[in-house]
């Protein structure tokens, strides 16, 4: 990694900088009173795979609900077709943050929840984990959504949205 600033630059800037040293960071780290007592668990490899299976099911069902092919969704959400295919079908695949963000924006599903399901965060809400695994277990890998699946999908998305608010 190359540092993009020189000592000459530092000398000039420090000569005019105010008499302060900047600090950054969220209050949940510094203020115990505001830290949410979230029901989180640290995930093992097996848990990550289960969550990614649930993510794949969720993305596939949301896509089917809109009647879109993989190619159509990748165009509309501005993501790679291959990456989307991997997310839907390969639980060993680590989705890039950008892809998760685009899916979150396109389907209006909270980013934090999708990130947890993608296995990119180490700690995951236990309730989310249990709900997601249960949801995925009841889904079939069909090219169309049954009425039951549609109901389960809507309920799961509502839970994700509700948790994001709370």
């Amino acid at each position: 990694m190359k540092l993009l600033f020189t000592n000459d630059w530092l000398r000039r800037r420090l000569a005019s900088d105010p008499d302060e040293e900047p600090t950054a960071g969220g209050p949940s780290d510094g203020n115990p009173a505001s830290a949410p007592a979230e029901n989180v668990a640290v995930m093992g490899e097996r848990n990550v795979v289960q969550l990614r299976i649930a993510l794949g099911v969720l993305v596939r069902q949301l896509r089917l609900k809109e009647g879109l092919s993989i190619a159509e969704l990748s165009t509309r959400a501005q993501i790679s077709e291959e990456e989307l295919r991997q997310v839907e079908h390969n639980p060993s695949y680590t989705a890039r943050p950008r892809l998760i963000f685009q899916l979150s924006e396109y389907f209006h599903v909270p980013l934090a929840k999708l990130s947890q399901m993608s296995g990119s965060t180490h700690a995951v809400n236990r309730e989310l984990y249990n709900t997601a695994v249960k949801y995925a277990a009841h889904a079939d890998d069909m090219s169309t959504l049954t009425q039951d699946e549609r109901r389960a999908l809507d309920a799961f998305v509502a839970i994700l949205a509700e948790r994001a608010k709370g």
């Binding site: 993009l4 040293e21 600090t23 203020n31 180490h122």
Partner: protein
Amino acid sequence: MKELIGERVLIERASGTEVPAQIFRTLDQKNFEDFRNRWHPLLKARRAEVSSWESAADLNAQDSHWEWVEKALEAERMMGRDTFAVECAGETQGLMLVDVGFGRLAVQRGLELIYVELLATAPWNRPKFVDAPIYKGVGRVLIGTAISLSVELGFNGRIALHSLRQSESWYRTAGGFTDVEFDADKRMRYFEMTEADAATFVSD
């Protein structure tokens, strides 16, 4: 594994002289011990002087509960996370933890950036925390490092952070950040640096 990424100067405030400082990527046991044995006792003692977290801002001690050791060890296991340290005179003078995030400003909404999750300078370098702070420039060096990482990762210098109250004016003026909004969830102001801001920050 800890890696030396460069050497830059800090200013010793009392004498006005320059001193060499080393910038490292990935914290090691030495940084952990400095935090535990040197930083933390001072932060804890100062924090105990005031009753609320809000008023700890007046003493520059709002970060007294940050668990750098745990955070750094956790970061090693997580994709996208990275830690940095500035050392000088054999001691840890500053620490930074970063993650990958996404822009909120209209010009870079949804684009990847480096999110500075935690950034702090050693207690003895902080105005208001001590009467005679020792070194100046640790924060600027760390922000410059975050921009350098952003460029290396292809994010073109974009970075973001939530500022503690006492640092807001630094980010607005000296730092050249854009003050995006008050983040109600975190109860802090959220700042972003655009590609253009970053180019200005490191320009001569």
